[in-house]
């Protein structure tokens, strides 16, 4: 039965290095990330040039891109509740969705999973790498803070965590019991700050764990029964990649919407 069992090596948590520029190590996950960025830039540049004459009834390329944009805006509308909030959030949320979705799916397509360089795969799913996911999650959490500062102003934004303004008002109005309420507000604010760290960690670990476990299971299935099982698992991997991208962007949109509300 051993001709029905293929081989493979388990992926490591830290991606392998391809070459160095000076003292900066370039890994294969970084190459995939750069490739996806270039792909998205080229496609959007190409799409923008075709729209020199906007048609009122769209056809072809314009139809496809309008479909993507409309679906994304409807999806974020359900979470944020109002159209103006969606228009402010859609650059970050849409970009994160497209980046993560293409990244999850790219290595499963034919030419990209099989190229090797010196025995090491040349392109590796970049969401497989904890460095990439924590970078995206931190970026989204910082963006939610920036959106809140843009809408409410910086003193009101700090007031949500450390109650400088409401604390002063409470002390002026109510005297000693106001001090107790201000201190309680301070404790709740410190818990909120710890909650922000928890948000970014949970976002990144969810995406990383799903993608990494998918690749490990792929190697295990190849070693188990290489005839039909890896094909079924590839289909499941495509589906999981889409679901994880949807869940990541839905959570990111809810954090941004909650910070822009009063």
């Amino acid at each position: 039965m051993s001709f029905l069992q293929g081989g493979g090596e388990l992926p490591t948590i830290q991606p392998e290095e391809i070459f160095k520029i000076g003292t900066l190590i370039i890994t294969n996950a970084m190459l995939t990330g750069t490739l996806i960025t270039l792909l998205v830039i080229v496609i959007s540049f190409f799409a923008a040039r075709k729209f020199k004459g906007y048609k009122t009834v769209p056809t072809g390329f314009q139809n496809f891109f309008e479909f993507i944009l409309d679906s994304l805006m409807e999806f974020v509308d359900q979470i944020s509740g109002s159209r103006e909030a969606t228009i402010k959030m859609i650059p970050i949320i849409g970009t994160v969705f497209i980046y993560i979705f293409l990244g999850n799916v790219l290595t499963l397509l034919p030419p990209f999973g099989a190229l090797t360089y010196d025995g090491v795969p040349f392109f590796r799913t970049h969401t497989n790498d904890f460095n990439a996911t924590i970078a995206i999650a931190l970026g989204v959490v910082v963006a939610s803070h920036i959106l809140s500062i843009q809408k409410h102003g910086i003193i009101n934004h700090i007031d949500k965590f450390i109650p400088v303004k409401t604390g002063a008002l409470l002390i002026k109005e109510k005297g000693p019991s106001g001090i107790i309420e201000a201190v309680i507000g301070l404790f709740v604010g410190v818990l909120d700050i710890i909650g922000e760290v928890g948000k970014s960690l949970s976002l990144s670990l969810r995406l990383f764990g799903n993608m990494f476990a998918g690749e490990v299971l792929m190697v295990v299935f190849l070693g188990l029964f290489a005839l039909l099982l890896p094909a079924i698992w590839t289909a499941a991997s495509l589906f999981t990649g889409l679901i994880q991208a949807v869940v990541f962007s839905a959570l990111a949109a809810s954090y941004c919407a909650a910070s822009m509300k009063d």
């Binding site: 949970s202 670990l205 764990g209 799903n210 990494f212 476990a213 869940v247 839905a250």
Partner: protein, 71 residues
Amino acid sequence: MDYAAATVWAKAFIVSTMMVNAIMEGLVARKAFDAIGRNPKLEETLFSKTIIAMALVESTAIYALVAFFTL
């Protein structure tokens, strides 16, 4: 007990905590089907929200899996 034996026990314990995740996902599915049966016109939006809820419930099991791989 030496380090390798303790690591094996720890891995077994980590993996066995994922049982609860399976039970809870079944409960989410049960309530989702109840809701679809009550109001079949809302099937499309209920389905997508159910999938998102299941991915969120799954996330604790994924944290356990990450801990498993880093041992």
